[in-house]
C-alpha cells in the first residue's frame, strides 16, 4: 500500500475539514472496495483516507412515501437492498446493487462510493439516473445538489471540487403508473464489470407513456442519458414498435470503445437489447 494515513471523521464538517486540510490526495473512505484497491495498486494517488462511516448522515437509509428515499453516501449496499421499502418502491436499485461485485463487496460498497468512483461502467449509475436520483454534495463552500446524471464528467472524473464530498442521494417518491428496471450484460454470471448496462423508468397513464427515462452504462466515457430513446416512447401507447424504436435510439446514441471487455459492435447491440429488456421489466412492475 502506498503511504497513507487514516482519519475518522466525527461529523460532516469534520469530514470536510479533514478532506480540505489533507490536500488533493485526501479521499473519502466509504466502503473502500474501489479506493483501497486503487490505493494499493497505486493507480490513484492517495495519502489520507477520511473514514466517514462513523457519521450518521453518511449512513442513513430513510424512506417516506411522500418525500422519497434518502440513502447516505456510505450506506452499505446490503442494507439498501435488504430494506423492504427499497425492494417495493425502488426495485431498479435492487437490480443493480445485488450484483455489484459479490456478497462480500456488498457488505461494504455503497451507492455513494459507486457514484464517487465515477466509472462509466458503474452498475448503479444508470439505475440511479432513471430514478431521478439527486446527490447532495457538501464542501467548504456549503452544500449543493447535483442530479446523478450530471455528476460524472469522464472516466474516474466528476464535478466534485476540492474538499467536497457526497453526503447522501435522494430519490423522488414513486407515483402510480411508474415502474423502473436495470439490467447489465456480463460474460459470466457474476463478478464481472458490465460490458453494457441499461436502466429504464416508465410512467404510463391512460394507456399511454407520459414520461420515460433511459440511461446507459459502459457505452461511453460517462453513463449516458439516452433522451432520444425515451422520446421514442413518450406520448404514445407502449408497443413492440415503440420499444424497438427506443432500443434503436439507444444503440444510436451509444458511443462505446472496443477494449478487453467488449467491442463497439457488441456494445451497441447490447444497448438495444438491454434497453428493450429493461423497458419491458419496468412496465411489468407498474402498480
Amino acid at each position: 500500500m502506498q503511504a497513507v494515513n487514516y482519519a475518522r471523521a466525527t461529523d460532516v464538517d469534520d469530514a470536510i475539514r479533514l478532506l480540505s486540510e489533507g490536500g488533493q490526495n485526501a479521499r473519502v473512505l466509504a466502503g473502500g472496495t474501489d479506493l483501497i484497491v486503487q490505493a494499493r495498486e497505486r493507480t490513484r494517488k492517495v495519502d489520507l483516507l477520511v473514514d466517514v462511516k462513523h457519521v450518521e448522515e453518511f449512513m442513513v437509509l430513510e424512506f417516506d412515501s411522500s418525500t422519497g428515499l434518502k440513502v447516505g453516501a456510505a450506506t452499505p449496499l446490503y442494507q439498501v437492498y435488504g430494506d423492504n421499502n427499497v425492494k417495493i418502491n425502488y426495485p431498479a436499485i435492487v437490480d443493480a446493487s445485488t450484483v455489484i461485485g459479490g456478497k462480500a463487496i456488498q457488505g461494504r460498497a455503497s451507492l455513494g462510493g459507486n457514484l464517487g468512483n465515477s466509472s462509466p461502467a458503474g452498475d448503479s449509475l444508470p439505475a440511479m439516473i432513471v430514478l431521478g436520483g439527486v446527490a447532495t454534495i457538501a464542501g467548504p463552500n456549503g452544500r449543493r445538489e447535483v442530479p446523478v446524471g450530471e455528476f460524472c464528467t469522464g472516466p474516474g472524473r466528476n464535478v466534485l471540487e476540492s474538499g467536497e464530498l457526497i453526503v447522501y442521494i435522494n430519490f423522488p417518491p414513486v407515483g402510480d403508473g411508474e415502474g423502473a428496471a436495470w439490467e447489465r450484460f456480463i460474460p459470466r454470471n457474476e463478478m464481472d464489470i458490465a460490458v453494457a448496462s441499461a436502466g429504464a423508468w416508465v410512467k404510463i397513464e391512460d394507456g399511454s407513456v407520459t414520461d420515460a427515462r433511459i440511461a446507459l452504462g459502459a457505452v461511453a466515457a460517462t453513463p449516458l442519458v439516452a433522451s432520444d430513446a425515451a422520446e421514442a416512447l413518450i406520448g404514445k401507447p407502449l408497443t413492440d414498435e415503440t420499444i424497438s424504436a427506443a432500443g434503436d435510439a439507444a444503440s444510436e446514441i451509444a458511443n462505446p470503445i472496443t477494449d478487453m471487455r467488449g467491442s463497439i459492435k457488441q456494445r451497441k447491440h447490447l444497448a438495444k437489447v438491454l434497453t428493450e429488456r429493461t423497458i419491458r421489466t419496468a412496465v411489468e412492475r407498474i402498480r
Binding site: 472496495t33 483501497i36 484497491v37 494499493r40 459479490g102 456478497k103 457488505g107 461494504r108
Partner: protein, 156 residues
C-alpha cells in the same frame, strides 16, 4: 520498523485484542502479518476471489478491502473462530465429510461466506446458494461438493 504504526482495539473471535498495525495495512495484512492469524488467505488482493473473507460487525466482507485502522471498535470473526472448543461447526464437518475441499486454500473464505449465507437465509435453494457464493473462487472442485455441503447443512 512498521511504517505509520498505530494501535487498534478490536475484538477477534470473541477475544479483545490490542494490536499494533501500520495505517498502510489492510485488515488481511494485519491478521496475517501482524498477529499471525493466517486462516484468511490472499488470493488476489483486490476483492475478486473471496479467499480473504471474514465477518465484520456481522457482515461478510473481503478483508483485503478493509483497512486495518478501520477495525477500531469493531468485532471480527475469522475461520479460526468458527469451531467451538469441543467440535467443528457443521459446515466444517460437512465440508470434510463431503470432500468439499481439495487444496483447501479457498476453504476458509467459503466457510465464512457459507456461514454468512445461512445466517441470512437458513434454507437457500441451489440457485440462491450459487449466487451468494459467486464471490468465492474455487479452482479445484468445480463447486459441486461445496454447494452440496452447504445445502446439506441447511437441511440438517
Amino acid at each position: 520498523m512498521i511504517p505509520e504504526p498505530k494501535v487498534v482495539n478490536t475484538i477477534i473471535n470473541g477475544d479483545s485484542k490490542q494490536i499494533l498495525i501500520s495505517e498502510r495495512d489492510s485488515l488481511l495484512e494485519a491478521l496475517r502479518d501482524r498477529i499471525g492469524m493466517t486462516g484468511a488467505k490472499e488470493g488476489c488482493n483486490n476483492g475478486n476471489c473471496g479467499a480473504c473473507a471474514v465477518i465484520m460487525d456481522g457482515r461478510l466482507v473481503n478483508s483485503c478491502c478493509v483497512m486495518a485502522a478501520e477495525v477500531e471498535g469493531a468485532e471480527i470473526m475469522t475461520v479460526e473462530g468458527l469451531a467451538s472448543r469441543d467440535e467443528l461447526h457443521p459446515l466444517q464437518a460437512e465440508f470434510l465429510d463431503n470432500a468439499a475441499l481439495q487444496c483447501g486454500i479457498c476453504t476458509p473464505g467459503f466457510l465464512m461466506s457459507s456461514y454468512a449465507l445461512l445466517q441470512e437465509n437458513p434454507n437457500p435453494t441451489e440457485e440462491e446458494t450459487r449466487f451468494w457464493l459467486a464471490g468465492n473462487l474455487c479452482r479445484c472442485t468445480g463447486y459441486d461438493k461445496i454447494i452440496d455441503s452447504v445445502l446439506t447443512v441447511a437441511k440438517g
